[in-house]
Symmetry: C2
Subunit: 307 residues, 2 copies
C-alpha cells in the first residue's frame, strides 16, 4: 500500500509529539490515554505514511530518538497541533460572543436615541467585540446590504416584505408635528391634522420614510407642500425653529430636549412607523448577533413608551 502524507491524521501527529517529548512509547501512551500497543501502531502508521522511520528504537531503557525525517515531521506537527488548539480557543470565544466583528446597519434617529445605550451595554459585556456601525438614510440599502452579508444585523423600518430578511419589532415610533417654540398652541392637546392643509412645511427628502408620511397625509385630505427638505433631522428641526414651517417627524427623530420647539401628537394620528432589527433569514448567526438583539429589545422595552 503506497500511503502518502494525505493519509495522516491528527492522532498520528499527536502520538509523534507525545513520544518525542516523553522519549518512550509507553509513557506517551499513558499521557494520551491509550495502550502502549496503540501508540506503537499509530507510529507505525505514521511511518508508513512518511515512508521511513521517525524514531530510532534503541532498545532497553534508552529513550527513543528521532530520525531526521521524524524531526522534520514533528516540526510541522507542532505547528498543526498548535493551530488546532488556537482554533478551539477562538471557537470558545465565538460561542461566548466575545470576539469577532459585528457590523450593524442603522439610521440617524436610531443612532442617536437607541444605539448608544445598547452599544454601551454590549461593550461592557464583551469589550473585545469589534462593533462597527454603518449608517444609511435608505432602508432598502440596509436591506440589500443585509442580504449581501455585508451587515450582520440592521435596524430597519417596516413594513418589511423581503423574505431574505428575518426581523423582530423593536418599537412603534409615532409621527408627531414639530412646531416653533413660540407658536401658541394648546400645549396639552393634540394637534389637528387639518391645520396643516395649505401650510408651508419642512420635511425629509423623498425617501421611503417620507413617502409614507406624504401618502397618509394625502389620504387624510392634506396636501403637503415643502419649502425645505433635508434628510438630516437636526437640519429639519433647525428650520422649524427658524420659522420655516411645521414638520411631521418620527418622534425618535426629534431632539425633544430642545425648548425652542414644541412637539404635539396629531389628531387623527398617522400610522406610526415600526422599527425592527433584522438579519438574513435562515443563516446561522454568530451568538454575538443574538445577544445584541436581546439587549436591543430589552433596552428599548425598558425605555418604556417615551414615544
Amino acid at each position: 500500500m503506497n500511503m502518502s502524507l494525505q493519509n495522516i491524521e491528527i492522532r498520528h501527529l499527536a502520538a509523534l509529539r507525545a513520544v518525542a517529548e516523553e522519549g518512550s512509547f509507553g509513557r506517551a501512551a499513558d499521557r494520551l490515554g491509550f495502550s502502549q500497543s496503540a501508540v506503537s501502531q499509530q507510529i507505525a502508521g505514521l511511518e508508513r505514511a512518511v515512508g521511513q522511520p521517525v524514531f530510532d528504537r534503541l532498545g532497553g531503557p534508552r529513550k527513543a530518538e528521532m530520525t531526521p525525517a521524524g524531526r522534520l515531521v514533528l516540526k510541522h506537527a507542532e505547528s498543526i497541533l498548535a493551530r488546532l488548539d488556537l482554533a478551539g480557543q477562538e471557537l470558545d470565544k465565538l460561542r461566548a460572543g466575545t470576539n469577532g466583528r459585528l457590523v450593524i446597519g442603522t439610521f440617524q434617529s436610531v443612532s442617536v436615541k437607541l444605539l448608544p445605550a445598547v452599544v454601551s451595554l454590549v461593550r461592557k459585556e464583551t469589550p473585545d467585540l469589534d462593533i462597527r456601525l454603518v449608517e444609511s438614510d435608505d432602508n432598502d440599502e440596509l436591506i440589500q446590504r443585509l442580504a449581501d452579508d455585508e451587515l450582520d444585523l440592521s435596524f430597519l423600518i417596516g413594513p418589511l416584505d423581503d423574505d431574505r430578511i428575518e426581523a423582530i419589532e423593536i418599537c412603534r415610533d409615532p409621527f408627531v408635528v414639530v412646531l416653533p417654540g413660540d407658536v401658541e398652541t394648546s400645549s396639552e392637546h393634540n394637534y389637528p391634522l387639518s391645520e396643516l392643509e395649505g401650510r408651508a412645511m419642512v420635511g425629509g427628502q423623498a425617501c421611503s420614510c417620507q413617502e409614507l408620511i406624504d401618502d397618509e397625509l394625502r389620504s387624510a385630505g392634506v396636501t403637503p407642500e415643502y419649502v425645505f427638505r433635508s434628510n438630516d433631522n437636526g437640519a429639519v428641526q433647525a428650520m422649524v425653529r427658524a420659522g420655516m414651517g411645521p414638520s411631521i417627524m418620527a418622534l425618535l427623530a426629534v431632539e425633544t430636549d430642545d425648548p425652542r420647539v414644541k412637539v404635539r401628537h396629531l389628531d387623527p394620528p398617522l400610522t406610526p412607523r415600526t422599527i425592527y432589527v433584522g438579519w438574513r433569514r435562515g443563516r446561522t448567526r454568530p451568538p454575538a448577533v443574538d445577544r445584541f438583539v436581546e439587549l436591543t429589545v430589552s433596552t428599548t422595552r425598558n425605555r418604556g413608551d417615551q414615544n
Copy 2:
C-alpha cells in the same frame, strides 16, 4: 458524547475545505473521491466536534454557505492543510537528499586533499544542501562530536574501537619521510628507517596520530627526537625545507608538488594509517549522508593509489 476539537481529523478539514470551495457536498465528494454520503457524514462529524453547524444548507440547488463558526474553522483548516502539504514537499527533498544541513567533521590533510573534490561533486548534485565543515586535529574530539550528534558524518583515523560509531574505510595512507630538496638521496629507492636514528626530526604535536608514529619508530629501534613540533602540516613541511631535519608524515598530509622537498617511502614501512568516514551507529541517517559517503568512497577509489 462530548466531542471536542481534539477528535477532529485531517479528513474532516479536507472535507470542510472541499465543500466550502465547491459549494456542494456532492461535488466535494467527487473531488475527494468519496460518496456524497461519506462527505455528509464527515461534515456531520466535524459539526459534532465543533459544537455547531459549519454550513447553512439552503436546500434545493443553492450553494451551501458557511456559518461564522465554519469560516473560523476553515481559516485554520487551510493553514493546517497547507502545512501538511509543505511537510510532504520537505520530506520529498529529504528523501532526495537535496535539502537540510550536513555537518561534516574533518582534519587538515583530508580537507586539503580529499574533500574539495567530493564537496564539489555533492554541491553539483544538490546545490541547496547546506554543507558545513568542522575541522579538528583531535580524532577523539571528532568521535565525541559524532556521538553527541553534533556531526552528521566525520572523517576519522583508525583504529576505531568506539562502538557508538560505525565507519567504512576510505583509504590507507602510508607514512613517508619528507626530506629537504637539496639532500642527496638515491631518488628512486626507499629510505632506510635506520638512518633516522639519532637525527633531529620535525614532527606533529603529541596527539593520537603522532603517538602512533612514535610508538612504531621505537619498536623499530629508532628513538625520535623532535626539534620542532606543529600540528600544521604546512609548518612542518616548511621546517623540513629549512633544514631543521626530516619528518615522518602521512602521505596525504604532504604537499607533494613542492619541489623543495623530497618524499621517500620508508624501509621497512610503518603501518599506514587508515582513514575512515564514520557516523553514529544504529541511527537512521539522512539520505544526504549516505550519498556523501558513496561519493567519498568512489572519488577516493578513482584517485587510485596515488598514496
